[in-house]
Amino acid sequence: MNPLCTPGDHHLSRRAFLGGGLSLLASPVLAEAMRQKDKQVLFVWLDGGLSQLESWDPKPNTEFGGPFRSIKTSVPGVQFCELMPKLAKQMHKLCVVRSMCTKDNAHSSGVDRIQRGDPKNRGVPYPHFGAGVAKLLGPGASGLPPYVWIKPGSGGFRAEDAGFLGPKYGSLAFGDGKPPENLLRHPDISAEQDAARNELRQMLDQRFAAKREKRVVEANASVFDMAEKLMARADIFDTSRLPERDRDRYGRHDLGLHMLVARQMLEAGVRFVKVTSYGWDTHGDNFNAHATMVPKFDQAFSAMLEDLEASGLLKTTLVICLSEFGRTPRINGHVGRDHWPEAWSIAMAGHGVRHGTLVGETNDKGTAVKSQPYDIGSMFHTWYRALGIDPLKTEFDNAGQPLPIAHDEMIPIKEALA
């Protein structure tokens, strides 16, 4: 439980604020219309904190600028760090916000707060953005799990990501891009046998449901159906069949491989795909670490943008890349940079965002935001808007209690929206 309720919280109940407009929101017609659109999300998470100075917001030749130069991008006047030559050529597809100013400078709480949109404390854990999208947009026509997470290490079902929305909207994590446990048909059972016995199971369920309330049978049917759809697309986990050329383009490293698996997921119609890369917490030897890691990210992320554009998916897919915070401009005694939520950057592309746009600026040394600062709540507003969901008219239902989908005192970044 979070004891950090601050004075002023809950002065206005959400219901009182919205008055009688609630019944409209719950309109099934509206919900259906939203679901029919095939919008998707790619959410790239650089865990530990990418340095904004060694990526989106370089400050060469300044006190804290570090050793790298900056280079021109495809948008005149916008420069990136030289470690991102490939992404620099794609700035015209991107929207970079350099004016992020968030609150938390600890990993343990920051990761959670950023991914949950840091809403006001309502006494219940808020869903991650992916769980919120899964809830509001559903699995879509593919029928595949709506929120998947490709990450190094272990996989599994992470119910806690869904917060109060309930375990159903948690993430399905693919550790090392590998399929979840029990995804593949048992080796001793043939495809025909498997299909036949599953058909028999469905027949038994229909008989059972005929005399009873259908809800329970339907709930079971829906998870078996989703399992079936995922089993049928087990190929999207099969990295052995990936073309060699793509492996080279994305890079023969974890992030390259995971990004490629993510592309297959998006192509297969998964609603929300999160890709995590670990190891960005460079308290020591920041510059060598970024010199090694940023080019890998540059390679994988730019290959992804190229491919999404070529396949047309970029038109319907919102792409987001961020960390839990940026890194301190001041360089510490270990030639590292520490945690810096005060002034950092987020990059976006694809559906709903204005391409080739730079939002906000930091001061000369990069220590503070010079323009209007934005907290993560504003980004949630922006992202939901980009997906065609109006956070002022859409709410979550926490067992009867209406709760805002994004921080209710923040607003979207208009200039970032298409």
């Binding site: 439980m1 004891p3 309720c5 601050t6 004075p7 002023g8 919280d9 809950h10 002065h11 109940s13 600890a106 343990s108 006494g123 799990p145 079902f157 119910a159 806690e160 309930g166 375990p167 159903k168 399905l172 979840p180 446990e181 029990n182 995804l183 593949l184 048909r185 048992h186 001793d188 059972i189 046998q193 498997d194 036949a196 016995r197 599953n198 028999l200 199971r201 038994l204 369920d205 059972f208 449901a209 005399k211 009873r212 309330e213 329970v216 049978v217 709930a219 079971n220 829906s222 998870v223 078996f224 989703m226 399992a227 995922l230 089993m231 067992a399 209690q401």
Partner: protein, 529 residues
């Protein structure tokens, strides 16, 4: 019909009956109230097979064997249901099943603990009254070998998780939720915004007690982790974050009266003084922990009886009279207020005898109605019930119990019971710290049932198991249906199995295994209906 008091001395019978001031028995009164509420909707009684399966799952935690089912169905005795209820309640397994159910309810899958489990089993085996159980959980005697297991309720909740602060608010909240059916979480910082009778002082009066605890590790004297108490000599002060208004309270049961804090000097405050040299943490004379443990589980606290009556009703009927189970308040009235009042009164009059209440519930027509009736709840089996039923059906439980040292190279010794328990819980149970009101089917559970080696292994023919037994029969339909679904197959179902076997005649064992898989993966198998 058998009543607990029939076995008592005649005078006691008279006393109990008059004390309860009812002319008819509790089960009849329950039915009368439920029927009145149903307003003429007919309640079709469950047939023998449905009753048999339900009562086994509820009292034994698994399902009967085909032979046991056959014998019950064939028994012409008019009182066979009452006899079965008594038999199952008297069986050692009943206490274990209750311990499983209460472990899931009270600990919400925070992990396993042997001393805690043993205490629960022992409490249900000796039919310890609920108020006594709660007193032991709320103020455990950690030096008493028989009681210290109860301390897990508190100690587990005070364990540090990562960088987070010790979760005193969480423990406070759970005492309210589990033993009074009230969720005071929001009242940690201010009055509850949607429940007018939940006040910040109700949270704070309990919090004053629990924030005063300190988790101590097991040592020579204490064989388990335990808690020490500090000295409380002043009221606990709190302020609403909404109004910044300050207030204070002594230790207090929610909605009750404040406990008097004795005026003791610093010297007088300790029964055993803390001593750094001997590492004695000390023991105060005034123990709010014990005060609350005396006052909360008491007939004078009406929510104490209502909460447990509602929770037991939920366990056996599949639905609480108040839901969520931890939101008793005036704007969330019971579905049937008279019924909850009756249960709470009777349970109090019977000194919180849960076994008595459970037996009464099982005797009601409400419990024994058919699941085809409108509004009847179908309950997903818990992971524990599902495993026990699955192993009972497939005939693999005994083998697994013997396999304490599994050997993957030997088919029959591949798994232990513990392997199965772990796998079933991982695939089928809800995540930790979630009230297990309903086990929700998930993608994870569907993939497990469909593809896991555990399920596949249990359905391979092996000496003494279901598939081998069926393969030896020319007409296995009856055995198969009784073993899995605890009922006889219809003519149509017999015909379907026959044609299935004919279509897959090349490998009868495999055909049977596939058919059994379909039955064991069907909704009829994994709900209690």
């Amino acid at each position: 019909m058998h009543r607990t008091w029939v076995s008592c001395a005649a005078s006691l019978v008279f006393l109990t009956a008059s004390a309860a001031a009812v002319e008819s028995s509790l089960d009849q009164n329950i039915d009368a109230l439920v029927f009145a509420k149903a307003q003429g909707h007919k309640m079709t009684p469950a047939d023998d097979a449905e009753f048999l399966r339900r009562v086994w799952l509820d009292f034994e935690g698994g399902i009967p064997t085909a032979d046991e089912a056959r014998a019950f169905l064939a028994d012409p005795a008019a009182d066979k249901r009452a006899k079965l209820i008594d038999k199952l309640i008297a069986a050692p397994r009943f206490a274990e099943r209750m311990a499983e159910a209460f472990n899931v309810m009270l600990m919400e899958r925070r992990g396993d603990n042997d001393a805690w489990k043993a205490w629960l089993v022992d409490a249900f085996r000796s039919n310890k009254p609920w108020d006594a159980m709660v007193r032991e959980m709320l103020a455990p005697d950690f030096l008493n070998e028989k009681q210290r297991g109860a301390g897990y309720f508190i100690t587990r909740r005070l364990e540090k998780v990562g960088q987070q602060d010790t979760d005193y608010p969480g423990l406070t909240r759970d005492v309210g939720r589990m033993f009074m059916g009230i969720d005071l979480q929001c009242c940690q910082c201010h009055r509850h915004l949607s429940v007018s009778e939940y006040k910040q002082i109700d949270f704070s009066g309990l919090f004053a007690v629990y924030q005063n605890l300190k988790l101590q590790s097991a040592d020579e004297k204490h064989k388990t982790p335990w808690v020490s108490e500090g000295v409380i000599n002043a009221k606990y002060e709190f302020a609403s974050v909404l109004t910044s208004k300050k207030a204070q309270t002594a230790p207090r049961v929610p909605f009750g009266e404040e406990v008097m804090i004795p005026a003791l000097t610093a010297d007088e405050a300790w029964l055993v003084k803390p001593d750094r040299k001997t590492k004695e943490v000390g023991q105060p004379k005034f123990s709010p922990l014990h005060e609350i443990a005396q006052r909360l589980p008491a007939p004078e606290n009406p929510l104490f009886a209502k909460n447990i009556a509602n929770r037991v009703w939920f366990l056996f009927m599949g639905q609480g009279i108040v839901e969520p189970l931890d939101l008793h308040h005036s704007d969330n009235p019971p579905a049937n207020p008279a019924l909850l009042d009756l249960l709470a009164q009777e349970l109090t009059a019977h000194h919180f005898d849960l076994r008595w209440l459970i037996r009464e519930l099982a005797h009601t027509q409400t419990y024994q109605r058919s699941s085809t009736a409108a509004g009847t709840h179908q309950r997903h089996l818990t992971a524990e019930q599902q495993l026990r039923a699955f192993l009972g059906a497939t005939g693999e439980r005994e083998r697994l119990e013997k396999n304490t040292k599994p050997d993957v190279k030997v088919d029959a010794a591949k798994y232990s019971l513990a392997d199965f328990q772990k796998a079933f819980a991982a695939a089928l149970a809800n995540p930790a710290k979630e009230p297990e009101l309903a086990a929700n089917p998930s993608l994870r559970s569907a993939l497990f049932l469909r593809n896991s080696d555990y399920v596949h292994w249990a359905l391979m023919p092996r000496p003494g198991n279901l598939i081998e037994r069926l393969a030896a029969q020319s007409d296995p339909a009856e055995d198969l249906y009784l073993s899995t679904l605890t009922r006889l197959p219809s003519t149509e179902e017999k015909a379907r199995l026959k044609s299935w076997l004919a279509a897959h005649a090349s490998n009868k064992a495999q055909a049977l295994s596939d058919f059994a898989w379909a039955l064991l993966s069907s909704t009829e198998f994994f709900v209690n209906h």
